[in-house]
């Protein structure tokens, strides 16, 4: 039942059809796609059947999220299997249009994304069992459960779909499900506003993707039948360069809108923070990745021949997103909003990898392209892990303090030691610090940058290194940002306005502070371990996913990447560059251990004392550095990029001065996204203006309406003659 055939780029793959309509023999056999279908079925079961059957909300949470966790694991298994074996599996569901059934295809690329989504889905599902309980008694969690499962299912389907129609259905269902999740706490205005903005951007993007598929399908088949809508037909089609450009940029626009690429990112920092935190984790961690998947699929798989300047534009937008994302993140004091802006940054980093891969591909340098693509994909995986972890951590904080504003937090490390430690791991990972995973992918991206002198184009040779500098800037700013986020949230003293630090408004008192329950803890511990594992043993994972560039670009890097043994990552050759996360980790750990032991051979005294107050004696917690003050130097340096409104209001003192009449100093700062005024406000204004003009057509008097008919007839008659 297996047959090898020539896939594009003279690579042999073995086909094991699950249900193969092309062949006379229909045979079900156990294959990755069956596994992933099982996963989908259990998700649909969780979405549709479970809420109908189970009336107890508490039980519903436990059962549904356990089911989604199992489903995620199944998806991970399917994904790992298919990436590991390099199989290409197909399945045709007898749904959809009669001549256009739903095509599913599981190849290593989709398998990889399936793994990423499933992995984080698994972690978040465990976390959700604990987290969602927080809503019990306040509102019905049934919609959350339903749309969560649907959301997961649709993400799986997006990466599995193999025809334009089904892809778009999954894509839009994904948007809708997440829309309802963002809307979950619908009595809040900001939730509604964010959800609305999100859905509008998502839908406009989806229409653009649809049009892109239209271009490709139209050119592929000429539309006499429905067959042109399958990805297979598009793969085979030859596109003229003009139409290919149109198709690519339409699709890129659509996917960029979903991924939150600057300047299409404005919905992202609105929508991600207001969603329930488990959903934020999924949205930031993996939903954005489906857009990355889309870009890779369209570019390298469907169009697969393109000029270098496409890549240059992708690279450029990636860089802009990276820098703008992190700069805006630095200006936030809402913890989840800060994380959301960091998603913009990280999507930018992934796009940098993809853009470089595109440039290398178009200059026919497949090995370098493979390196760049691996860098992008690896960052995709990494970002899913650490961003998921961070959002879950933020959720835990939110769960405990009912507060998203960092300025009202502080000192949580004493109250929530687990969360604090795990969040720290996330912070280190996202700041691209060794030995955690974020660093590996950024390092690979830097290596790809450093290889651009190989390009036979002088302009690119000169310009691309500047991009590397921008990436370095972003990485350093990210570190600054997370020092701020972590420092203000978890370190120092409680700085809440309304609650004195002696009695912080924590949910549960008692010993151990307000630490979250074990479901949430495990949900965070697992991605934290993943962050470390991915950082310390990158060679394993890179060898595992090397099949993807091999199939897409016809070249792989594993031969060189792991040439020096599993400990060392040598993307090109060990003379060129090498990195060993394992030794870094072990080295630091052993030195720390040795030094610690050496210094503790004898009993060492540690005395606790109040902090030094310079003799002032009246230090209060409000005198700590705040998030706003922390980012002040950077705000000043990059001020021109923001829309800043800074106000200091001084209330003069009024007598009697001794009691509360001492006057006040009020500092007000508002940092807005410049892009809102640059792109979105004008569009909205223009729409309303046009709308007003069109409103004049309908001005109430019947004579005027009759005149319209009259004129229409006359005009048509005149034109027809």
């Amino acid at each position: 039942m297996e047959k090898c055939w020539q896939e594009k780029g003279n690579y042999h793959t073995c086909y094991s059809g699950a249900i193969n309509t092309n062949r006379h023999k229909i045979k079900m056999e156990f294959s990755p796609i069956i596994l992933s279908s099982l996963s989908l079925l259990s998700l649909l079961f969780a979405a549709i059947v479970v809420p109908l059957v189970i009336s107890s909300q508490r039980l519903l949470i436990a059962i549904s999220f356990s089911l989604t966790a199992v489903a995620s694991l199944l998806a991970v298994a399917a994904g790992c299997w298919v990436v590991g074996s390099g199989l290409i599996n197909k399945l045709i569901l007898p749904l959809g249009l009669p001549n256009l059934p739903f095509h599913l295809r599981l190849d290593p690329l989709s398998g990889f994304f399936l793994t990423v989504i499933g992995l984080l889905g698994f972690f978040v599902s465990i976390y959700s069992i604990g987290y969602v309980k927080g809503f019990l008694g306040k509102r019905s969690v049934t919609p959350l459960v339903i749309f969560y499962s649907l959301f997961m299912a649709s993400m799986f389907l997006v990466v599995l779909a193999d025809d334009a129609f089904f892809f778009l259905i999954s894509w839009e269902v994904m948007a809708l499900a997440s829309y309802f999740l963002v809307m979950f706490e619908d009595e809040k205005t900001e939730n509604r506003r964010a959800a609305f903005l999100y859905l509008v951007v998502a839908h406009v993007g989806a229409i653009a993707i649809l049009l892109s598929f239209g271009v490709m399908a139209g050119l592929a088949t000429g539309f006499e039948t429905f067959n042109g809508y399958t990805f297979d037909a598009m793969r085979e089609a030859k596109f003229s360069s003009g139409w290919a450009t149109v198709a690519f940029f339409l699709a890129f626009f659509g996917f960029a809108a979903k991924a939150g690429v600057v300047p299409l990112h404005v919905w992202l920092p609105e929508a991600h923070p207001v969603a329930p935190s488990n959903v934020s984790a999924l949205m930031s961690g993996v939903m954005l990745k489906t857009a990355i998947y889309g870009i890779i699929r369209i570019t390298f798989d469907l169009i697969h021949v393109f000029p270098w300047w496409w890549g240059a534009i992708v690279l450029f937008l990636g860089l802009i997103s990276t820098v703008m994302g992190v700069l805006y993140a630095l200006m936030q004091h809402d913890l989840k909003r800060l994380l959301a802006y960091h998603s913009v940054e990280n999507i930018g980093i992934i796009l940098i990898g993809i853009g470089l891969a595109m440039i290398f591909t178009s200059f026919n340098l497949p090995i370098l392209a493979a390196l760049a693509l691996i860098a992008g994909l690896y960052h995709t995986l990494n970002h899913a892990m650490f961003k998921g972890l961070l959002f879950m951590g933020a959720g835990a904080v939110l769960h405990a303090t009912k507060e998203r504003n960092m300025e009202e937090m502080g000192g949580l490390i004493h109250k929530m030691p687990w969360t604090a430690a795990l969040f720290l791991i996330g912070c280190i990972s996202i700041s691209a610090l060794p030995p955690f995973n974020g660093f590996v992918s950024e390092w690979l991206t830097f290596q790809a940058f450093l290889l651009t002198p190989a390009l036979p184009n002088a302009l690119l040779n000169l310009l691309i290194p500047l991009g590397a500098a921008l990436l370095a800037l972003a990485a350093a700013l990210a570190a600054a940002c997370f020092v701020k986020a972590y420092g203000v949230t978890f370190l120092g003293h409680w700085r809440g306005h309304h609650n004195p630090p002696s009695a912080p408004p924590f949910m549960k008192g008692g010993k151990g502070g307000v630490e979250v329950d074990w479901f949430m803890r495990i949900g965070m511990i697992l991605p934290a371990i993943a962050c470390l594992g991915l950082g310390v043993f990158p060679t394993f994972f890179i060898q595992w996913m090397d099949i993807i560039p091999e199939q897409l670009l016809g070249s792989k890097i594993a031969a060189s990447a792991g040439a020096f043994g599993w400990m060392w990552l040598t993307p090109v050759s060990h003379e060129r560059a090498s990195y060993s996360g394992f030794i870094v980790f072990l080295g630091i750990l052993s030195v720390v251990a040795v030094v610690y032991l050496l210094l503790h051979t004898r009993r060492t005294a540690v005395r606790r004392a109040p902090i030094w107050d310079c003799g002032f004696g009246k230090l209060t917690n409000r005198m700590q550095y705040t998030a706003t003050s922390f980012s002040m130097p950077i705000r000043r340096i990059f001020g021109f990029l923001f829309n800043i409104k800074e106000q200091v209001r001084i209330t003069p003192p009024v007598p009697p001065f001794n009691k509360g009449g001492g006057g006040g100093l009020h500092y007000h700062l508002r940092v807005r996204d410049r892009f809102w005024n640059l792109f979105y406000q004008p569009v909205a204004d223009a729409s309303f203006w046009v709308s007003r003009q069109f409103g004049r057509l309908q001005q109430g008097r019947i004579h005027i309406y009759l005149v319209y008919s009259f004129i229409t007839i006359i005009v048509l008659l005149v034109f027809l003659r």
Partner: protein, 313 residues
């Protein structure tokens, strides 16, 4: 496993651990001479560190484990960096662990934790120090990367050993690109190590502190580790400059080279110390918001280096 790289590795780590305070001592000595003061001697920093190890640790009431863990981590990172940079020999058993970019990241992780520690105790000083430190770091990193980029263009590698080999063994060419890169590197090194004109390591004046503000609450062995680590950092930066720009004499694979390499290293550091002191004495501490311009020019030099590589070489 060959024994030679292991031996050099150990030798080198020990050398760095001991030479780093002495290098600082040398700098202070030269500075005293230039300012017409009597110096405390070459070994005073070493003595300070040892003294601190015996002191009691006074911890702020609010300090968490991060505050206590940071000194060890910072020290550990410095030791690891010392094991990676080919100071005495290019053939180190851990040389492959990291290239130039990883090295920058290693210093970044130390800084990350130092900044967190600064935030931990919850004073305005700590926060201010962290904020400024991170700002400076974020500006110096792009410049650093551009300098590395330029050097790696010449050497076709970011591996430090490879850079040392290529530049040390190739025909001696006057490369404008490397000259620019060196200039940039010096500026970055000054900023990274908190030297004048960016920061003043000798002052505890509230508003000018950067690095000192973060570690203000440290005492005893914690302070010792941090001080030692920062001395090593300066030493390592100097060695990094030597590796990248003046690698002649670094050993390559036999124990015979080590004494020569050692002597040459001392000589180079001798000069480096003098140069640093000259810079520090010649300049005045800058306002904090002048630092971006300072680092901007470092970035400019590095970029010019890269451009001149493509255009001139």
């Amino acid at each position: 496993m060959k024994t030679y790289p292991l031996i050099t590795e150990i030798l080198q780590i020990v050398a760095v651990l001991i030479l780093a305070p002495i290098f600082i001592g040398w700098i202070r000595m030269v500075k005293c001479w230039l300012q017409g003061r009597t110096s405390a001697g070459l070994f005073q920093p070493l003595r300070d560190i040892i003294k601190l190890f015996y002191k009691e640790v006074v911890l702020a009431e609010n300090a968490s484990w991060i505050f206590r863990f940071t000194p060890y981590l910072v020290f550990g990172v410095s030791v690891l960096a010392a094991a990676i940079i080919p100071i005495l020999s290019t053939d180190l058993s851990l040389a492959l662990t990291a290239d130039a970019i990883v090295l920058v990241a290693l210093f970044a992780i130390a800084r990350f934790f130092t900044a967190l520690a600064g935030m931990d105790i919850g004073t305005a000083f700590g926060g201010m120090g962290s904020s400024r430190e991170m700002m400076i770091a974020s500006l110096s990193e792009p410049a650093m990367l551009m300098a590395i980029f330029t050097v790696s263009l010449v050497a076709q590698s970011t591996s430090l050993a490879q850079i040392a080999l290529v530049i040390g063994h190739g025909p001696f060419i006057l490369r404008p690109s490397l000259a620019f890169a060196l200039l940039a590197f010096v500026l970055i090194a000054i900023a990274e190590n908190g030297r004048i004109p960016v920061d003043n390591p000798a002052t505890h004046l509230e508003l000018t502190m950067i690095h000192e503000a973060m570690i203000l609450e440290y005492s005893g062995r914690h302070l010792a580790l941090i001080e030692w680590a920062s001395m090593m950092k300066l030493f390592l930066f100097a060695s990094l400059g030597i590796v990248a720009f003046f690698p002649w004499g670094i050993g390559e694979g036999s124990l015979k080279d080590i004494p020569i390499a050692f002597v040459l290293l001392i000589a180079k550091l001798f000069i480096a110390g003098i140069v640093l002191v000259l810079i520090e004495t010649g300049l005045a501490k800058m306002r904090i918001f002048r630092v971006p311009e300072f680092l901007g020019s470092a970035f400019l030099f590095a970029t010019l280096g890269m451009l001149s590589y493509f255009i001139l070489e």
